[in-house]
């Protein structure tokens, strides 16, 4: 089985063999709802291709994307940390595919397989680092820095440098109006760092995009890279 998901890929082979029979490959369609707020989670999804939005509620019936999950992670972490549900809705943003596992089977894996448990806890740590760092970043850093960070993050999570992200989505992720994102992206494009075609942003010069991003990008990425780098930590 050729697997793209970075979490599954970092499991020792014998552990992967144990979990494989319980993994079902499913398609992910844009706008497909995977988890609803407060409803018990039935399946966890290890994303292979595509992006899933995690929506946070910010007003009466009003939600915005808080972050995006791709092949660096899994959808449904609360189940593995002891909760049945979560306050967030999770919806597919960019279609693709995933390997899904029933929630109760994943809980058994946590209880019975130490390598899987260590992996999930390191992943949870990476998500914690991301949450805290992103919060500090949003308070301090400029829109240009945060936009560059999100484009790099999306590339890492999607596994390709053509990003089907709308200005509307980016504006919600960044907490700004769409026009400000349009201007910021236009300036990156004028500088030759990205190219834009209808609905798709292509990163042309990753070095200069990294130079434009704040250091938060490296801090968050290092937390995710650490999951893979420490097999027995």
């Amino acid at each position: 089985m050729a697997i793209c998901n970075k979490l599954l890929n970092s499991l020792p082979p014998e552990e992967l063999r144990t979990i494989a029979p319980h993994l079902e490959e499913v398609a992910l369609h844009a706008r497909q709802v995977l988890h609803l707020k407060g409803i018990p989670i039935e399946h966890l999804y290890f994303v292979e291709e595509g992006l899933v939005s995690v929506f946070a509620e910010i007003g009466e019936g009003e939600v915005v994307e808080a972050w995006l999950i791709g092949r660096e992670g899994l959808v449904g972490l609360p189940v593995l940390l002891g909760g049945a549900a979560s306050p967030f809705r999770r919806v597919v943003n960019v279609g693709g595919r995933a390997l899904r596992i029933p929630a109760d089977r994943s809980i058994l894996m946590m209880e019975e397989r130490p390598a899987f448990r260590r992996l999930i806890l390191r992943y949870a740590q990476a998500v914690t680092v991301q949450s805290a760092q992103a919060g500090a970043c949003a308070n301090r850093h400029s829109l240009h820095q945060r936009l560059a960070r999100w484009l790099l993050s999306a590339e890492y999570r999607l596994g390709r440098n053509e990003l089907p992200l709308t200005h509307a989505l980016l504006s919600r992720l960044l907490g700004t109006r769409r026009a400000s994102v349009t201007v910021a992206l236009g300036k990156l494009e004028a500088a030759g760092i990205i190219r834009q075609r209808r609905g798709e942003i292509t990163i042309l010069d990753r070095d200069r995009l990294e130079a434009a991003a704040c250091n938060c990008h490296r801090i968050i990425k290092a937390a995710y890279d650490r999951i893979v780098a420490d097999p027995d930590a």
Binding site: T166, T176, R178, A179, S180
Partner: protein, 86 residues
């Protein structure tokens, strides 16, 4: 509801909106454009604070000019906006 496109011009470059927004009326579009202008001005970290020449150009789905809001008018108050573009 009609859809409107909100392009941003700095006097020489136009940053194109190709996603559009559904709004109730031209009046709502003017309000939206004013908010866009104010957001851009208050977020400006690298610029020189010189907003003369900057405008929001509002067009309809057929590409016709609906109105334009100069950034300086957006600061001065609610009545900013010239109907029909220009």
């Amino acid at each position: 509801m009609p859809r409107f496109f909100f392009h941003v011009s700095d006097g020489s470059t136009v940053f194109v909106d190709d996603e559009a927004v559904e709004l109730e009326s031209v009046a709502a579009a003017r309000d939206y454009a004013i908010r866009d202008a104010r957001d851009l001005m208050c977020r400006d970290e690298e610029g020189d604070g010189n907003w003369s020449g900057w405008r929001i150009l509002v067009r309809d789905e057929d590409g016709n000019d609906v109105l334009a809001v100069s950034f300086l008018d957006a600061v001065r108050g609610a009545a900013g906006g010239e109907p029909g573009g220009g």
